[in-house]
Each structure stands twice: as C-alpha cells, then as structure tokens.
Symmetry: C2
Subunit: 337 residues, 2 copies
DNA sequence: TTGAAAGCGCTAACAA
DNA sequence: TTGTTAGCGCTTTCAA
C-alpha cells in the first residue's frame, strides 16, 4: 500500500512496477519515460502502479545503460559568494540544455584534485571549474581527457576553455570614473598573487597612462582579504596620501576603508575608494562601496555553451570568452576637495 | 598510447584493461579495488595497463552492482556562509565513515523539492538538509522513505532527525553579557518568520525575566536582512532608545549599526549591539560585532552520526541534537554611559 | 501495442 | 591464483 519505510526492503524497481501492473518491464520503461508506444489504458495502469509503490527511476542505472551521461561536473569553493551566483546560473543553463549538474566542493580539507577526481568517477562528460587554483599544466592534462571550462580565472592551458571578466577593463572603468570626478593622485592596492590581480594591476596602469597620469601611478602591495587592505592603507597614509584608491576587491577595500576612517579620513570626503566584485559586502548600506561588477549570469551561460560546443563537436577549438565588467557607482567615490 | 582525447572513443572500461593486461575482468576488478586474491606480478601488470589507457572505475556501475550506494545527499543554499562551513564538516565526517556526498543546491530558480528529487534519483541512502524551508509535513513524508536529518532548523516532524543550535541559549548568553556590563534597557530586534527567530525571541524574553527585567522587554519587528535591521533601528530611535540591542543575526545587525551611526549614536558608546552567527561579516575589522557563534564542525559531525545511526539500525528513533552556542565578544558592546 | 532478451561496467560467487 | 558466470536497474532492438 504505502511506500516502504527505510530499512524495510529495497527500493522499488521497474520490475516491481511491471509485476504490479501486469506488464513487461519494457513497457513500464516506455511509460515512465513518456516515450511513444503504449496505449492510454496501459499508460494509466502503469503510472498508478508506480505511484502506489513509490517508484522512482534510478538515475545511475539509466546512465549506465545510456551511452552518454548528460552530466556536467562543477567544482566550486564553498566560500565565494560569487561562486554561488555562478552556480545558480549554471543550473539554469544546464536545465535548458537537458543536462544535469554534479557538484563537487573544494573545502579546507578537500583539495581541487579530490573534487575533480570524484566528478571523473561519476562519468561527467565535461567539467566546469570555478576559479581553480591548479597550475596550467594540470588543467591541460585534464583537458586532454574531457572538455574543461575554467571560469573566473585567466589561464592559458592547451585545450582549456576560459570564461572570465575583462579585469583590465574593470580597472579602466574605475580609473575613468575617478578621473572624471577630477582625481589625479589615484593609487592602486593590488591583489598580490591572487587570480585576476595581475590583470587588474595592468588595467590600472594602462588607464592612468591613457589619462597622462603615468607619473602619478602608485601601486601598493595588497591581497584578497581585509587584513591585506588594512596594511596597504596604513602604508598609504605614511606619505602624502592619494585622493583616490582603486582596490583589488571588495573584501580588501573594506580593510582600506576601515583604516582610513579610523585615521580620521572621511570617505569619500578626503579619499575616494573603489572595490571589485560587487559582492554582498559592497552592497551593505553602511559600506555602500563603489565597485566593479562581474556578470555572473552571463558567465555561467557562456561556460555552459562552451562545454556543450566541445561536447558536440570534437574538433571545436578551445577558446576564451571575455565578459565586460560594469561599474556600480555608490557612496565611496566623490570629487576631490 | 596516451589516454584517448575527448571525442575519440569511449572511456576505457575494466574489459579494456583486462584485454591489455591479458587477464580476466574479474582479476582487474580485484586489483583496482585492492582486494586480496591476485599475485604481485599480475597486480603490477594490471595497474600498468590501467595507467596506460587512463582507466578510472565507473562509480555508477559500482553503485548499481553494490546493493548499497554509500551515498549521502546534501541539500544546501548557495548563499549562506554558514552552509559553506557545514559542507566542509560534512565532507570530512563522510570520508571518515566511508561515505560519499552528493550535493544539490537550492538556487533562486531551483527549489528544495527539485534539489531533493535529484538526490533521490541518485539513490542516496540518507538526506541531510541544511536549513530547509519545506513544511514539517513534507519533511515527515520524505522521512518515511529514507533517513532525513535537518540541520539548523528546529522542526518537529515525525521520523526527522534534527541537529541545531540552542538558539534560546544563544540569546541568554547575549543578554547575560549585556546585563553583566550594566545594561538594563535591552531591546531585541527579531527575525520575523525566519528559521530560529522564534527560539531567539523566546530566549531573549526568558533571560530578561531571569534578571528581573521583564518590564524592560522590548521586541521590535526585524528580519534576516540588512534592510530589516535598518527599519527596526529607525523605529527604535523614535522613542527613548535602549542602551543595548540584541539582534536576530549579523546581517540584520549591520543594518542596525548603520542607522544608529548615521543618526549620530556611537556604538558601543551610546548603544551596545549584538548579532548572531559569527559570520565573516561580524569578523570584519570595521564591523567587529559581538555575536553568538554556532559550532558548524560539531553540527556537521552530529548530522552525519545521526544519518548513519538511522541507516545502520532500522529501529533507531529519530532524535534532536542541540548544540550549545558560544558568545564571541568583540567591539560593539561596552558598559552603558 | 506488447514482450523477450541482450547488454551498459562492474562485483561476487563459484569453479578450475 | 585465475577465469566463468550471473546479475544490479535500466533501455533498446527485434519479434510477436
């Protein structure tokens, strides 16, 4: 009558449904897959039997039988908010394309290799890696086995597709905005060796040069976290502080903001500050940070398209998709005094 | 010679390895599983063949063959930082117990039912739900099919295990701390209908009563987000403001902080504020929020123990594990002026 | 419209 | 120590 509770007996299979409905398993298969080839009466009888015993198809058995798994593996980090946004977009795009997602998280105790390994054992057809840290050589090796799309990291590895934001342009936007407000003494707190840091640093220098401000270029060593920003801000305060600072990312920028304010500098009165990522942090009312946003939805959909293209055409070359960033102006930037 | 690239040919199987090594598939199976029953020489020959053609066992076929999947399904939300911490702990505990985790995310476009459904199709043996929003009746229905452990939400549903923080105690800690500093006019900005809100509200009232401060009880409608906190703080400022406010969670508390500071109130000079969660937010140097921490590692390990206990003994009753919270004193609380 | 039977990749008896 | 064989739950010819 009711579905069997846990412990009592195995899960119902196609054969169980077939027995109950008095038909063959092949017919049940046809019905539950909504494939053509069964009479309306049979269809109804089978569906009722299935419902009654709580039947649910076994995804693994299906995949085993099918030559293809239609499974896309995704490796992500449990920390980044940005990864969360990307995941949402990937689920949507995968569903639209008739694929399933298999998730594998990188945690403090579970490294990228482990995360990738479990996905390979799951017979994923392609892999989407969000901000991976593995060296390019390893990524290339992986890409020799199956299509690999790297999101949010600029790597050049043979056979690896890349979807990333134009981080250099992101800093062009920030600098252009500040120059437009009248700033000239604009510094940059960089991200050290973090992914994207080099591109943003370069973008900063390029934009300054374009405005004839190469003499004003001042890059301060920073990093991805609040502490890095705090330390950078302190060193910034030692000399003649700039009137504006572009910072590697939002987290680092909040560290900068904190030190500036505690030192009695008003933001944006005395100093303007920009971040990067448009994270939840930047949107907080009391942080209200002018920042550069990455388009997560678009990146997710591009990542999926790349994976599918590689899957469908074996000779499709790997490529790089560069998504333009967008400036989000909030309350930490204003004209200099 | 090398592993086949994408597109050219199917993935190597046991049979391929067997053919290359000149042995039977059964023997290859024994070797790759590191089971006893193969000579050292054969073992080596098989492993070499496997390596050469890039063989990797098919997890799905294994699971199909085995009567058990040793798969634990986890439903989580891509937003909460706290879920990230829990995931990390779950992976560790699962590995220690010899289980695999199957992740399924809830996103804006993918609801809880979908997330659970995909896990059921994957033949997970038990489900761990992080802060689920489904009504108790639905959870009970699910629990009739397989062991279900709910983490970080207090539900009473037949057959459902619960692992949660003692949220009432969390507010006892906060109130005790404030009273110890000398506060008496202590308000509470609540979480509305959010999970945990009722318990925290009750904890606040109980603690106030215990200190003989029932006459000072003042509960203000809040919610889980910054905006909710901001609105609550504005209403708090209308009358004679309290000298301290306990807030539902950290996000809401930052909204409270923002409005208070913009209204010219110093924190903790004029008003002390406490949050809840010890999220990254609370730890930011410039937020530096006194807050109540939940023990994610312990909750994860308890959740897994419960799931395994239910799996191993069919008659194991469902239970509730309540983990004590911990007060983290930072810079937003001080004695009243 | 329906059923019989083979086989996906793997493991576990059982035999040799 | 090694091989043969059956079968996990499902889909898919092919025949009836």
């Amino acid at each position: 009558m009711a579905a069997p509770g846990p412990g009592e007996g195995r899960r119902p299979t196609l054969a169980d449904v077939a027995a109950r409905a008095g038909v063959s398993t092949a017919l049940v298969s046809i019905v539950v897959r909504e494939a053509p080839g069964a009479s309306a009466a049979t269809r109804e009888r089978v569906l009722r039997a299935a419902r009654e015993i709580g039947y649910r198809p076994d995804a693994r058995a299906r995949l085993l039988r099918a030559h293809r798994s239609r499974l896309l593996g995704v490796v992500f980090e449990v920390q980044g908010t940005f990864h969360g946004d990307l995941l949402g977009g990937l689920y949507e795009a995968a569903e639209a394309a008739g694929y399933e997602l298999a998730l594998s998280a990188v945690t403090p105790s579970r490294d990228e290799a482990r995360a990738v390994g479990s996905l390979l054992s799951d017979r994923c057809e392609a892999l989407v890696l969000l901000g991976p840290r593995s060296p390019a050589a390893q990524l290339a090796e992986l890409a020799a086995r199956l299509p690999v799309v790297v999101v949010a990291r600029a790597v050049r590895a043979r056979g690896v597709d890349v979807v990333r934001t134009a981080d250099d342009e992101g800093l062009h936007l920030a600098v252009d905005h500040l120059v437009g407000l009248g700033h000239r003494r604009i510094a940059h707190v960089d991200g050290g060796r973090a992914p994207g840091a080099a591109e943003r640093r370069r973008g900063y220098r390029e934009a300054m040069a374009r405005h004839g401000l190469s003499a004003e270029v001042r890059t301060v060593a920073g990093g991805p976290a609040e502490d890095d920003g705090a330390a950078a801000a302190r060193s910034l305060l030692e000399g003649a502080p700039p009137t504006a600072v572009t910072v590697f990312n939002d987290r680092c920028a909040t560290g900068v903001l904190d030190v500036l304010r505690r030192a009695g500098r008003s933001v944006p009165g005395d100093v303007s500050v920009t971040g990067y990522d448009d994270s939840r942090l930047a949107r907080l009312a009391h942080v209200d940070l002018t920042t550069v946003a990455q388009d997560a939805a678009r990146m997710a959909s591009l990542a999926l398209s790349r994976a599918l293209a590689r899957l469908e055409r074996a000779d499709e070359p790997a490529g790089e998709e560069v998504v333009p960033p967008r400036l989000v102006v909030r309350g930490t930037t204003a004209p200099p005094r």
